[in-house]
Each structure stands twice: as C-alpha cells, then as structure tokens.
C-alpha cells in the first residue's frame, strides 16, 4: 500500500477539546436537553394545530359578532381539551399503541375502519382549508396562491418524508412561534381589560340560534378528533417511557392551555377592533386580518398574517401525518415519520396524496371553501363522539391500562366531557343539515 506513514509509532492527542456529538452515549446531557424540550413536544403541536385557518376564522367571527362575551366558553373548552389530550398521551405511553390500533384490537376491524374512514374524509377537508389558509396569509404579502401553495406543499412533504421524526417535530415547534403574534396583536388593539376579565368568568348566554351555532363551532374547532389521534401516535413514536408519563401528561395539558390562550387572544383582538367598531361579519381569516388595519395599524395586519401562516403550515403538516398513522394502524401497515417509501409505502403514499390533494384543491380558483368547511364540520362532528367514547372506554379499562386506568374524579370528568361534546357535536350536525 502506498500510504506514507512515519516509521515510529505515532502518538495522537486530541487537539480540540470539543467533543463529538455521540447521541447514543451522552446520556446525562441528553437528559437535560430532554427536560427542556419536554415542554415542547407532541402535546403542544397537536393542540396548536387546532388554531388553524378554520379555527382562526371561527374565533374571529366570535370576536367580531359578540366581542368578549364568549370568552368563558374557552375556559371550559380548555379543561375538556386538556383532559382528553392527557388521556390520549397516557394511553400512548402505557400501551405503546396508537388509538386506531387499540380500537382495532378491542372493538374489531369494523369499528376501526369506520373511525378511520371518517378521519380520512374529515382530515382531507381540514387539510384543504389549511392550504387555503397558507395561500391567504401569503396573499396578504402579495404572493399569488398559485406560487405560495405549491412551494409550501413541497416543503411540508420534504420535512415529513425526508426528515426524521425528531427533526420534523423540531420544525413544527418553530411553526408554533408565530402564534405569539396574536397576543401582540391583541395588546396593540388596546382591549378593555376589565371587560375581558369579567367575560372570562361570567357566562353570557343568548338564546338565538346564531349564538348556539357559533358556540358549538367554537367547541368543535377547538377539540378536533385528529388532535388525540396525532398525540397518541406521536407519543408512541417518540417511545416515551412510563416513568416519563407525568411530564408527558403535563405537556399535553400545557399544550391545550397554550392553544386556548392563543384562541382567547384572537377573540380579544377581533373583539377590541372589529366588534368595537361595529364590524360584525367576516367571512374568512384573511378578512379578519385585513379588517384589523384601520383600527390597529399595519403591524396588526402583518402579525395576524404571520400567525395565520404558522398555524396553517403546522396543521397542513400534522393532518397528513395523523391521517396516515390512523390508516396504517388500523390496517396494519408499516408506519413512521421519516420512513422511506420502500420501507413504509402505504404510510408515505397517504401523506403524499393528502398534501397533493390539499394543495391542488386550494389553488383551484373559485373553490367553494366555505361550503367545503361546513361539510368537514359535519363529518368531524359525527366523528368526535365516536373518538371520545373510545378514549373514555379504553382509558378506564384496567385490563388495557393496568395501574394507570382512569378512575374516580378523572373518569367522571372524562365521561362528562364525552357526553357534553357529543351532545354539542350532534347538535351542530343537526343544525347544519337542517339549515342546508
């Protein structure tokens, strides 16, 4: 061999003291990083994906039509969402299985396929609305939809399919940072804080049907089935250990609280501007952003647009993943974010198809987005009770959950949440169908 080497033994000392990153071996440091990142994980991502284009449109409508009056519902919704998300995280940790997998094992293939097909339809609709949201947000900056949406679609696809789960999760966490735009926008709009505080604790109820519909829509858009499905699958994929469960549950609850604080600030921001100035009707999230300009200055509009973009990107990335997980779990296909096409063909194909369809429909000019969203709401409304019922039943089963099965107050609260949200969801479906 032609390698020239010194004749004497070489002694090599490491000149640099900087240590290589050896992920498999640096456990104490890793533990510290994890403790920090623990606050920022699937719980945060899942709950905040709910503040997407549809969510922002709903909250803006609430703020424009009733000012701060509906803020008290956000408090109640936060409790329910936190509870449901916590149970989903717990089931993921204890069983090491996704929700669709558990439903299949305990209730058979028909129930799991029923739940799965509803998830696919509902999520596809939400996915489309989020690509519309991306187009609308970048439209505020003058970028045409035909340019922004395809670029966003390709970017999201690359993150999910080419990255690992960890890197994808880290990027998703960055997507949640624009949510801070809403509190800033709200503060810039100078709300009457005394009235805000009162509205948070004192319930106001009107008896007209428009109020009831908006109330149900608020609950429906905040507690969405894919959040639990995504959270549980993500916890499983993360491989969270049982002794890390308390942290994971805290994170699920914290995610729900953060998401709803953002929702509350959207209501406050629109309440302080649109409602206060007599604008009671808006038809889309972008309208809400534009409408803020005269009252809150150009910053508010930019902030609103940035928030909408982050929210829509996050949801447009989460929905294909959640859908693909559910289908793969219930039909028994290989799955995992970052898996190559040849490793998990069905999983990757579903993600690709969701993103393609979502982006494609969103750039068709004149797509009836509003009626599409209404249809999606109906499917989601039908799905939520099924989903919550299974979560409640599975989480309270000692056979499945062992020591960690829910009992007493927790089980009671879960049952109440299931009953109330199911009633609201079914009411929404009835109202939507009869008003068509």
């Amino acid at each position: 061999m032609a390698v020239r080497v010194p004749p004497v033994m070489r002694r090599i000392r490491s000149a640099t003291r900087g240590r290589p990153r050896l992920p498999a071996r640096l456990s104490p440091r890793r533990a510290r990083i994890f403790a920090f990142l623990g606050l920022l994980g699937p719980g945060l991502i899942a709950a905040n994906a709910g503040n997407d284009a549809g969510g922002i449109a709903t909250y803006s409508s609430v703020g424009a039509k009733y000012g701060y009056e509906l803020l008290w519902t956000i408090v109640l919704i936060t409790i329910s969402l936190g509870l449901v998300q916590m149970l989903a995280a717990r089931m993921g940790v204890v069983t090491g299985k996704g929700l669709a997998e558990l439903i299949r094992e305990e209730y058979g293939i028909r129930w799991s396929v029923l739940a799965t097909s509803a998830v696919v339809i509902a999520n596809l609709g939400i996915c489309i609305s989020d690509f519309v949201g991306i187009g609308a947000a970048l439209g505020l900056a003058g970028v045409p939809t035909q340019v922004s949406v395809p670029i966003a679609a390709v970017g999201i696809w690359l993150i999910i399919v080419r990255g690992s789960y960890r890197s994808a999760e880290r990027i998703f966490i960055w997507f949640t940072i624009p949510f801070f735009a809403y509190p800033i926008a709200a503060i810039l709009a100078h709300p009457h804080w005394g009235k805000v505080g009162k509205a948070l604790v004192v319930p106001t109820i009107h008896t007209n049907s428009a109020f009831v519909i908006l109330l149900i829509a608020t609950a429906g858009t905040t507690i969405t089935p894919y959040m639990q499905l995504y959270l549980q699958s993500a916890v499983v994929e993360r491989g969270v250990r049982e002794d890390e469960l308390p942290r994971e549950e805290r994170e699920a609850v914290a995610g729900a609280v953060f998401a709803n604080i953002v929702a509350a600030f959207i209501i406050i921001a629109t309440g302080a501007t649109l409602f206060a100035h007599g604008v009671h009707h808006i038809s889309s999230a972008a309208d809400a952003a534009r409408a803020l300009r005269p009252f809150a200055g150009s910053y508010a509009e930019v902030l609103f647009g940035v928030g909408l973009l982050g929210a829509s990107l996050l949801a447009a990335a989460i929905l294909p993943i959640a859908t693909s997980y559910v289908v793969s779990e219930s039909l028994g296909y290989e799955k995992g974010v970052g898996r190559r096409h040849e490793e998990a063909p069905v999983f990757v194909n579903i993600i690709t198809a969701m993103i393609m369809i979502g982006a494609f429909v969103a750039i068709i000019p004149g797509v009836p987005v509003i009626s599409l969203l209404v249809g999606v709401q109906v499917v989601n409304g039908l799905l939520l009770p099924i989903n919550l019922f299974f979560i409640w039943r599975l989480a309270r089963s000692p056979r499945i959950m062992g020591e960690r099965h829910s009992r007493g107050l927790l089980d009671g609260a879960a049952a109440v949440t299931v009953a109330v949200s199911s009633t609201l969801s079914i009411a929404l479906v009835v109202i939507t169908v009869t008003s068509l």
């Binding site: 061999m1 390698v3 080497v5 010194p6 004749p7 004497v8 033994m9 070489r10 002694r11 090599i12 000392r13 490491s14 640099t16 900087g18 240590r19 290589p20 050896l22 992920p23 498999a24 071996r25 640096l26 456990s27 890793r30 990083i33 994890f34 069983t95 090491g96 299985k97 299949r104 094992e105 058979g108 293939i109 028909r110 396929v113 690992s164 789960y165 960890r166 499983v236 994929e237 993360r238 491989g239 250990r241 049982e242 002794d243 039909l331 028994g332 290989e334 995992g336 974010v337 970052g338 898996r339 490793e343 998990a344 056979r399």
Partner: protein
C-alpha cells in the same frame, strides 16, 4: 417472500375463522342450538396448534364445548356428535388462547420476515385428524372479508397467507393465565433482528419477546441486549433486579457492558458492578473511567499482547486459546523490550507466516495508535486513513490498554435515521 400459496387441491380445504365465529351450533340432527362465539386453541406444542374447544352461546349463556364433542366444522356451522348438550363453564387451561379475542386483529411476529404483522384473518384446516390453525392472513383479502357483510365477504377467495410455522403470536395480553408459551421460532433470528422487533413492538410485547428469548437462551438474550438502542436498554434494565442485570452484563463484551452500566441510575451502578465476576468487574470499571465519546470509551480491553521474541506459532496458539470475540481479534499486538507497544501483526499474516519466525521479524511498526482521550473524530479519521479495522489505545506510560474496532466506530457514526430498519426512529 415468506408467504405460502394457498394449499393445492390434495390439501385440506381452508376454513376462515371469521366464517366459523358467529355461525350456528347444531346437534347431530341438524337442529340449531345456539351460536359459536370463539374458538379455543392450545399453543406451545410443535406443529399446527389444535383447536381444543369452542365458546358457544346457547340460550344467552356462554359455555364451553370440547372439541371431542364436535363432529364437523364448516362455514354453515359447528355440528355436535351427539344430540345431547352438556354445557360447562369455560375455564382457561394452560397454553390455551381464544382465537378471536386473543389473536385476531392483534400483532404477530412474522419470523421469516423478522417483522411485525397484524392478523386480518386466521386460517383453519383439518390436519392429521384434528382441526388446527394453519396460518394467518395479513393481507387485504382477510380484512376485506371481515369488513363486508357476511354474504358478500364469503365470496372473497382465500389468498396467500403466512404459514403458522413462520409466525409467533404475542400472548402477554391474555388474561388470567399470563401463560408462558415458549417462542422457539425466535431463536432462528439474528440478535439484531430480534432487537429490531423489540424496538418496533409496544413495551409489553417487547418485554414478552425478551422474556421468551431469555428463557430459552441466556446467551442470546445478552446478544439481543447489546443490539438494542439505549432507550430500550434502559427501559428493560429498570424493571429487572440487580442480579439479573449483572447476569446479562457478565455475558456481554466489557465495552458493551460498560455502556449499559453507564445507562443505569447512579445509585444502582455500584450494586450491579459488585455482582459481576471479578475479572469482568475490573475491566468494566476501568472503562467507566473514560469519556464515552473518546477512544477510551469506545475501546474494548480484550486483546492479545505478546513479547516480540515470541514465535508466530505461539501467537497462533494464543489466538486459539483466547475466548475473545472474533471481531475483536483481527490482530495480535507486539510489545517491545520495555513492555511498551511496538506494533501489530494481523491474524491472517500469522497464519501465512512460518510458525517458527519471531514476532519481532514480522511485526508492522507503522501502525498508528491512540491515547484514551483521543476524540471520536480522530479515531474515525485514522481508521479510514490507514484502512484499519482495529486500532490500539495506549496510555501515557506507553502501555496498551485496549483496542477500538471498526464496528464500534460504525455504530457511533451511523446517521440517526439509519439506525433502525423499522419502528421507532433514532432518538437524540
């Protein structure tokens, strides 16, 4: 592929579990008595597991019906031998599982493919005089048949299915018995494949795999442990008593054992170490003193170091006698008069050399070596530059303390996403 085609004409016809469950229970005269709810099968033996009985619903009550009382099983129902019905409550005997409740729709190990699959349908056939489970359908046909209404689903033909010989079911979730069914088929897999399965399975299923492997073969259990990723290693070690952890560690190479000890809780380390055999303990403890990201943390303390005056034949004998794993023993190291490292001789060179020649005459001097605190990049770069599969580590006094082999470096260099073939992805 691991699937077998549907049996040819001379083989017995296949019956689907989903067709039998829910069908009628009839007496010898064809009178309908009730409904079949589930089939009981006994695992644990060799060959296809036999059906030992049925759960039947007669007049709203679920009871047990032994297989010996049944004359015929078909899609249109189960026919009893006698007209008289003798119903007993069902009590699970050892190694018995319910096909629908415990196996259908759940995960199984496809042993040939070394992956997890889900049972969409369970296939039965009359083999050697009794009805047995012959295979599992994991494809879309089985699922579709059960999704469709019974009349339509019956038209879906039997597709390819996995022969039972290539399948291991999970039984850890089966209540009451917590039965200990051995999984002999797993032993055919490579430890790395078993580790992949454990990582892809849920916690309980993974525990079941490790337990089954450990019951049959402690050596294999230790090998599987070495192959598991950190997270799973820690998870499974936490549940085990110190003595068991020590037993596993003592079967591992010292450097792998040191990695695992490093993963343990600070307060458990000493207890576990004290339970190791003395020679092993000394090596592991020495390795624990090094930074895991430096040469000292990567190296193995097992190597052969001989004086330059020894002959090639002596060196070969030393290789023969030693119990060092083959991948760690690619070269014999040679020391100088003062005991410091002089160079190395590849085992291949020893085999080729005249046995009477002294090592000092065939030693290769121009071999780089590392100090224990050489960084990981140094290790990787030197091995690549000099085309080495192993590299000696030498302390400040010139004494050889260990050897870093290429597999350790490869493992640490592997990009995160490549680490696993399936299941969970690499962690931070």
């Amino acid at each position: 592929m691991s699937a077998v085609s549907a049996p040819a004409a001379e083989q017995p016809p296949i019956l689907h579990l989903s067709a039998v469950v829910g069908s009628a229970l009839r007496d010898a005269n064809g009178e309908r008595l009730g409904k079949v709810e589930d089939l009981i099968v006994r695992l644990g033996g060799t060959g296809y597991p036999p059906i030992t009985g049925f759960l039947v619903n007669v007049a709203g009550r679920t009871s047990f019906l032994g297989a010996d009382r049944v004359s015929e099983i078909a899609t249109d129902g189960v026919v009893m031998r006698k007209a008289k019905l003798d119903l007993r409550p069902f009590e699970r005997r050892a190694e018995e599982v319910l096909l629908k409740r415990d196996l259908l729709d759940r995960q199984l190990i496809n042993v040939q493919g070394a992956r997890l699959v889900r049972a969409n349908e369970i296939e039965l056939a009359l083999v050697a005089g009794s009805w047995r489970v012959v295979g599992v359908d994991t494809g879309p046909r089985g699922g579709l048949r059960r999704l469709l209404p019974k009349g339509l689903g019956a038209h879906i033909a039997t597709g390819e299915f996995l022969d039972w010989a290539g399948v291991e079911p999970f039984v850890g979730h089966v209540p009451t018995v917590r039965l200990r069914v051995p999984h002999p088929k797993l032993a055919k897999l490579h430890p790395a494949q078993i580790a992949d399965l454990v990582e892809a399975a849920s916690r309980r299923e993974g525990e079941e795999i490790i337990q089954a492997v450990g019951d049959d073969d402690r050596e294999l259990e230790a090998d599987v442990f070495e192959e598991l990723d950190d997270q799973h290693q820690r998870e499974f070690l936490e549940d085990r008593p110190d003595a068991q952890v020590a037993a596993i560690l003592s079967r591992m190479a010292p450097d792998d054992a040191a990695d695992i000890v490093g993963e343990l809780d600070e307060n458990r380390r000493e207890q576990v170490l004290s339970l190791l055999p003395v020679s092993h303990r000394v090596k592991v403890r020495a390795l624990l003193g090094y930074d895991p990201a430096e040469a000292g943390g990567l190296m193995s303390p097992d190597f052969i170091l001989l004086h330059g005056s020894s002959s090639a034949g002596d060196a070969l004998n030393a290789v023969r006698r030693s119990r060092i794993a083959p991948e760690l023993l690619t070269a014999v190291f040679v020391s100088s008069q003062e005991g410091s490292l002089d160079g190395s001789v590849a085992v291949t060179a020893l085999v080729r050399a005249d046995p009477t020649r002294s090592l000092s005459s065939i030693v290769k001097h121009e071999v780089p070596c590392l100090s224990p605190d050489a960084s990981f990049e140094e290790v990787a770069r030197l091995m690549a530059d000099y085309n080495l599969t192993s590299i000696p580590v030498v302390d400040d006094g010139g004494q050889m303390v260990g050897v870093v082999t290429v597999d350790d470096v490869l493992e640490a260099m592997l990009p995160r996403g490549w680490r696993r073939r399936f299941g969970l992805l690499g962690e931070d």
